[in-house]
């Protein structure tokens, strides 16, 4: 009987063999099974008995091959039960051949869903297996991999199916249970022209965005509205995201495919494994859960320095590699980073009340933001406290409206990206001479200018597009020069 173990996000073929011998009745699972997997013994025994089948009173050995691969979790339960039933001739072993199985057993024999069903199913498809026995809840997820799910609620149903006595109802494949999108709308944000504009540019060009300003100026409020103006994922992207979310068990029930860009906002106390992935498994972290979506780091400088430095790899390569004693995993992590921060430790800078930080404390605060890290932000926006009068603005644009412009700009960037006009090139050279702007900074400004031109629907990057792009450069007060 076949199933698949997860190594990171990759399925590895696992063959489950059961052997019955004469002797004192016993039950052993071999093949580097972890604790949850060893406990399958109790679940499988109760499950088989509850399904009114016979528990063979023999010396039972279950082998999970290949033996050197560590197996984790409860997803092997269903496969082990079927292997034992086949070995004791309660079901025909021959019918198991073109099947794989994944699922956890309850003590009463019910089949429960487990994380990673999509990845298991993809493994099966690559091996040419057509049918995957799984919990009814996992059926739509399994179907995404292009194999036929056999949704079963109970071990007894699985047995009846293998014996050829029963056929499951095909899952409703057409009904794409798309949950209504719940991202807060931009129409609720009053004023903030500068911030809104930067958000739109960030969305159109997939630029990383840093919002800096005193507390309470709406930095987080704006950042949370970024997913709402991003175009939906294309199918290939959606499958990638679904695979990751499936492995960590984050798929909402009734919504097998993650079609909207994910949004993750880990707290600044999060550990390194929580952000970039890890554990003995290893399992993906927030950076991978935000793949093809948005990773919001609120109070950016409060994150531990090693965590921030660890994010440099995914920001550069779009992947995280986690090395562990028993293997190395590579997780996709191509996210868009949005970060917010105060301008100083006390938060008073940019505010009328003023800052009360000592010079040394301020210097320490700035040191924490390494130049290398700040260089990953294409757009940096300082958000001073708005004057009271402009808060009463009304009739602001909705997210849907902005999203249309973003989508149009993205299409333009992909099909015929605007080229730099000679006027813009002159301005850029002039700016490099007069402003503190590094070589990296220059490339960043050029990228942002291209997005701005695309948003304007222009064929060429004009002088004013480049000038606007320059206004999002890293302000010198963040680097302490």
């Amino acid at each position: 009987m076949l199933t698949y173990a997860l190594v990171g996000l990759e399925p590895r073929r696992v063959e489950v063999e059961a052997h019955l011998q004469k002797g004192v009745p016993s039950f052993a699972i071999v093949g580097l099974a972890d604790r949850a997997c060893q406990e399958a013994k109790e679940r499988v025994r109760s499950g088989i008995v509850s399904a009114e089948l016979e528990w063979p009173l023999r010396r039972i050995t279950v082998n999970l091959a290949p033996a050197e691969l560590r197996k984790e979790g409860s997803g092997f339960d269903l496969t082990i039960a079927l292997a034992i039933l086949a070995a004791s001739h309660q079901i025909p072993a021959a019918s198991l051949r073109e099947h794989a199985a994944v699922g956890e057993l309850a003590l009463d024999g019910r089949v429960r869903p487990v994380g990673g069903a999509l990845v298991v199913a993809e493994g099966a498809r690559r091996a040419g297996i057509e049918f995957v026995l799984c919990a009814a809840e996992s059926a739509r997820e399994v179907a995404l991999a292009g194999v036929d799910p056999v949704p079963v609620h109970h071990l007894a149903e699985a047995v009846a199916y293998i014996r050829g006595d029963w056929l499951p109802e095909p899952p409703p494949l057409t009904a794409n249970g798309r949950v209504p999108f719940t991202c807060p709308d931009l129409a609720e944000v009053k004023g903030q022209r500068r911030g809104r504009r930067a958000l739109e540019i960030a969305a159109a060009g997939r630029h990383n965005l840093l919002l800096a300003g005193p507390p309470g100026t709406g930095k987080t409020m704006l950042a949370r509205r970024l997913p709402g103006i991003l175009p939906p994922l294309v199918r290939e992207e959606a499958l990638e995201v679904t695979r990751i979310h499936s492995v960590v068990g984050l798929l909402p029930s009734g919504q097998p495919l993650v079609a909207e860009p994910p949004f993750r906002a880990p707290h600044h106390s999060s550990s390194m494994p929580a952000i970039v992935g890890g554990g003995s498994g290893p399992t993906p972290g927030e950076a991978s859960l935000a793949h093809r979506g948005v990773l919001l780091l609120d109070e950016f400088p409060e994150f531990q320095r090693p965590v921030l430095e660890a994010l440099r790899q995914p920001l550069e390569d779009g992947v995280v590699s986690v090395a562990r004693a028993n293997g190395r995993a590579v997780f996709p992590a191509r996210f868009q980073l949005v970060a917010t921060m105060n301008l100083c430790p006390c938060g008073g800078r940019g505010d009328a009340a003023g800052c009360s930080c000592s010079a040394a404390r301020l210097a320490h605060f700035r040191e924490k933001l390494s130049r290398a890290l700040l260089d990953r932000f294409d757009l940096v926006v300082a958000m001073p406290r708005p004057r009271a009068a402009e808060l009463d603005g009304s009739g602001e644009e909705t997210s849907a409206l902005v999203r249309e412009r973003v989508q149009a700009a993205r299409e333009r960037l992909e099909t015929r990206p605007p080229r730099m006009s000679s006027e813009a090139r002159v301005l850029l050279t002039e700016a490099v001479e007069r402003l503190p702007l590094s070589g990296r900074g220059r490339a960043r400004v050029a990228r942002v200018a291209r997005t701005i031109a695309a948003l304007a629907g222009a064929e060429e990057i004009a002088r004013e597009h480049l000038a606007e792009a320059l206004s999002y450069r890293i302000p010198p007060e963040l680097t302490g020069t």
Binding site: G191, R194, R197, G354, L362, A363, E390, A431, Y472, P475
Partner: protein
């Protein structure tokens, strides 16, 4: 004066020992000098610019502008190489292509604070770093007030840009007043703790500094000619007019000008590149 190991020493008997400093209550017996500037710089019209280390963007901007315009007019800008106002005054003077002198509270071979070692080198390239302490003397807090008496003693005019109620810069002002030198204070907002010290000085009778010309007149110098005017775009001129009223953020300017956020941002960059506006923490001001 003797030259040894890259520094020079002035004693009170040297011809170049500055007369103004010699006239104070307890002039330093020796001055150690480092840098390419002539010791006679200390006898030129000297203006001291001092203030708090944790200054506001406003204070930083004023200190820089004063440093630049006074240096351009021919004054020698003296300060203490500390963070904040002091450093901005030195930088301004370098921008104005004038000489500037840093008076240290430690040996002249110690760049203190360490973060300003690059700045110290730029100062040494055309100006001087001076100290009454022997090379090798470590910085210590109790040496800084004594250092302030030299700053005030060298200067014909002392300017306090920003100071809290009990700031070291006020000690410099006291020294200057005791010696009968002129003291200017830069007015600040009455709500800001960083302006408490300077506003208090104004109440006690210090001269308010409203324009750099006030000091240039007091030093008996002439203002440097204004740089040539540059043609601005329509939007940039409009934004410039609005900034002349008061400093503003992009959002403020969008509200006042009726222009869109992208046009305002482009106009502001144009003003920054022509050197007419500066930005700090998202708020733009005319330079």
């Amino acid at each position: 004066m003797k030259a040894e190991r890259g520094y020079r020493v002035l004693t009170r008997r040297s011809a170049d020992y500055p007369a103004l400093l010699d006239a104070i209550h307890d002039p330093p017996k020796r001055l150690y000098l480092r840098g390419d500037g002539s010791p006679r710089l200390l006898s030129c019209p000297v203006v001291a610019i001092v203030g708090t280390r944790s200054c506001s963007p406003y204070g930083a901007q004023v200190a820089r502008r004063l440093g630049r315009e006074l240096a351009a007019a021919g004054a020698v800008v003296v300060s203490g190489l500390a963070r904040g106002i002091d450093a901005e005054a030195h930088r301004g003077a370098l921008e104005g292509e004038g000489a500037t002198v840093a008076v240290l509270g430690c040996g002249i071979d110690r760049d203190y604070p360490r973060a300003h070692s690059a700045l110290a080198q730029r100062i040494a390239a055309g100006g001087l770093l001076i100290s009454e302490y022997e090379p090798g003397t470590e910085p210590a807090p109790w040496r800084f007030p004594a250092r302030n008496r030299i700053i005030a003693g060298l200067a014909r005019v002392t300017i306090i840009v920003e100071a809290r109620a009990r700031s070291g810069a006020l000690i410099t002002a006291d020294f200057a007043l005791e010696e009968g030198r002129e003291v200017f204070a830069v007015p600040g907002e009455i709500t800001s703790a960083l302006s408490r010290g300077t506003n208090e000085l104004l109440r006690l009778g210090a001269a308010p500094l409203v324009e750099p010309e006030d000091v240039i007149d007091a030093l008996g110098l002439e203002k440097a000619p204004a740089p040539r005017a540059i043609r601005l775009s329509e939007e940039a001129s409009r934004v410039r007019e609005l900034l002349a009223d008061r400093s503003a953020s992009v959002d403020d300017l969008v509200g006042k000008s009726g222009l869109a956020a992208d046009a305002v941002a482009a106009a502001l960059v144009e003003l920054e590149l022509t050197g007419e506006a500066v930005c700090a923490e998202g708020v733009y001001r005319l330079h």
